[in-house]
């Protein structure tokens, strides 16, 4: 069985409309995977559901989340937290808000190892130094004594990557880790995430709306529309021949920088209407079933 297996996961606003409609996907150890879907459709909800950090207004309405052979949703809350903490980590979206502005960098990496996993402080500090070197930060000693506001955005994202790998998690959820960065830094960070992932053999759930990023980092991808998986395939197959009309339209809509004369190709209304009808049919069948 895959390391992470999400089966028929449904998530919705409390007493409100569904955000995810029976989503299934699997990530095996060491495999990279992408998620693509439109902004505003609750893009990060899968990752948040896996890590148990859904906002209070949102609840899981059905399905299973299997992490390393256990269904997280069946575990008592404390046990679920402990398992997630031991097995998974998050690379957050915005490096500017993802480090605590009141603490120095060193303790932000080491305190969790010491307080929660019971490491010795000296070991944790050595580990943090090694990881900062591994994410190509010069002078790790000085950086560990710095406050977040003293560092550049790219540097902070490197620190967050190092921090995510600190406890050797088996799964990392990267929630649009490059959206807040400019393009040159973006490229370095993507390369870094790929390298770290390969070196540590971690499974990666990569959430993004950027097909270019998917093509760089991922091996498989799922395309979602309105919280429903419309396509699940390998990256190679997807870019060669997308199966679902919505995926095809999405791919065609990506601007081509090589031909400035070509206009923008938005997803045609007919395709949107077709997908919406599909979603509506799904909701009807779910209501009757």
């Amino acid at each position: 069985m895959s390391f992470l297996a999400i089966k028929n996961l449904s998530i919705g606003l409390k007493k409100g409309p569904p955000l995810l409609r029976r989503v299934s996907l699997e990530v095996s150890s060491g495999e990279e995977r992408g998620r693509v879907w439109e902004s505003g459709a609750g893009k990060s909800m899968i990752g948040k559901a896996v890590l148990g950090i859904l906002p209070p207004s949102v609840e899981v309405t059905g399905g299973e989340i299997w992490l390393d052979g256990t269904d997280l949703l069946r575990l008592p809350l404390a046990e679920r937290r402990r398992r997630i903490g031991a097995l998974a980590a998050l690379i957050p979206q915005d490096p500017l808000t993802a480090l605590n502005p009141s603490h120095r960098i060193g303790p932000q990496i080491t305190d969790r190892l010491v307080d929660i996993l019971g490491w010795r402080r000296a070991d944790a500090e050595a580990r943090a130094r090694d990881l900062l070197t591994e994410v190509q930060i010069a002078e790790p000693e000085r950086v560990m004594r710095a406050y977040p506001h003293e560092l550049s955005g790219g540097m902070r994202q490197r620190i967050l990557i190092a921090s995510a790998f600190a406890a050797e998690p088996k799964l990392i959820v990267a929630d649009e880790p490059t959206t807040a960065l400019d393009v040159t830094v973006q490229k370095q960070i993507l390369k870094l995430i790929s390298q770290m992932q390969a070196r540590h053999g971690t499974a990666l759930l990569f959430v993004t709306h950027d097909l270019g990023v998917v093509s760089k980092v991922c091996q498989r991808l799922s395309v979602l529309y309105a919280g429903m998986v419309v396509e699940d395939s390998t990256v190679g197959d997807f870019f060669a021949a997308p199966r679902h009309p919505y995926s095809a339209a999405l791919l065609a809509a990506t601007p081509k920088y090589t031909d400035p004369q070509a206009g923008l190709n938005p997803v045609p209304d007919s395709v949107i209407a077709a997908v919406r009808a599909e979603v509506a049919a799904f909701d009807r069948s779910a209501a009757h079933g």
Binding site: K48, L51, G52, I53, P56, R81, R82, I84, G85, A86, A88, A89, L90, P92, Q93, D94, T97, A98, L99, N100, P101, S102, H103, Q108, D111, R112, D115, I116, Q136, I137, A138, E139, R142, V143, A146, Y147, H149, E150, L151, S152, G154, M155, R158, L160, S163, A167, Q188
Partner: protein
């Protein structure tokens, strides 16, 4: 490593403690020393009356009585000594009432803002109800029920002003709670209370510091107001508010009886608020 990232100039930025921090700290420090050692520093007994020396002007005005630097009031009591002794009440109230208000208000605000849910609902409704009471009348009522005295004043200030802390800290805790670093801490397995104390609390402390110093200034004013309406600790202990009330009656004959305690009160309240701002500028690790 060719593409390793290095620290840039940001870490070299050093902020200097501003002038306002030094000035306000100096004034409040002086006041603290005066209050602590009042019996030894004050030139005269603040309660000693001398009806032959009533309304003597300050030392630099013609007709002044030697030894009475800031003049005397209508009962011939030394204004300077009364101000020095009045600082004891003013500062006790400021420090004790400010600290208790701060701890109670900030704790409730932190719990409401971070835990949300029914805790937030309960505390927020309590704040709403509380703030509907008119503060000055409420405090006069409280003193009337409790009877005058230092602890009654402190209790009145705490009871009325905790909402000020609770509201602001709640909003701040909510804003911090939505940050990604809180999510990371939760994923790593930190409990709710642990996250609140370690991740949220340090980030609301700068705000709490500013509020605390403001609150100390407010406490000084409230104590003065209550003394002004004769509801202070007791009639024979000198207070700034009481002096202002007495000075008001003789403003045309002896301006100094009103002006000196009023000026002291003004500078003290100003210093408290500037101290908070100055401390925040100096020690908040986030450049704003």
């Amino acid at each position: 490593m060719a593409d390793a990232e290095t620290l840039d100039g940001r870490s070299q930025v050093r902020r200097r403690a501003g002038l306002r921090l030094w000035l306000s700290a100096a004034w409040l420090g002086t006041l603290c020393i005066l209050a602590l050692f009042a019996p030894w520093i004050a030139p005269k007994d603040p309660l000693a009356q001398d009806l032959f020396l009533g309304r003597m002007p300050p030392a630099w005005v013609a007709g002044a009585e030697p030894g009475y630097w800031l003049g005397t009031d209508s009962l011939g009591r030394d204004v300077l000594s009364r101000i020095i002794h009045g600082a004891r009440v003013a500062l006790s109230v400021a420090l004790i009432a400010g600290a208790i208000t701060c701890v109670i208000g900030a704790t409730l605000g932190l719990l409401a803002g971070f835990l949300r849910g029914w805790v937030d609902l309960l505390i927020s409704r309590l704040i709403d109800i509380w703030m509907a009471f008119p503060p000055v009348l409420f405090s006069i009522l409280l003193i009337a029920v409790l009877g005058p005295g230092l602890w009654s004043i402190i209790l009145a200030i705490v009871v009325i002003d905790w909402t000020r802390f609770a509201r602001v800290v709640r909003a701040e805790a909510m804003a911090q709670g939505a940050m990604d670093y809180v999510a990371s801490a939760r994923v790593a397995g930190r409990g709710r209370i642990g996250t609140m104390l370690r991740e949220i609390l340090p980030n609301v402390l700068p705000t709490v510091t500013v509020l605390l110093t403001l609150e100390m200034g407010i406490a000084v004013i409230v104590e003065a107001i209550l003394s002004f309406v004769n509801l202070s600790i007791s009639t024979d202990a000198p207070t700034w508010g009481g002096m202002i009330a007495e000075g008001r009656a003789s403003i045309h004959q002896a301006w100094w009886v009103l002006v000196f305690p009023l000026g002291t009160l003004f500078l003290t309240v100003l210093s408290f608020s500037q101290l908070g701002e100055g401390l925040k500028d100096r020690f908040d690790p986030v450049l704003r």
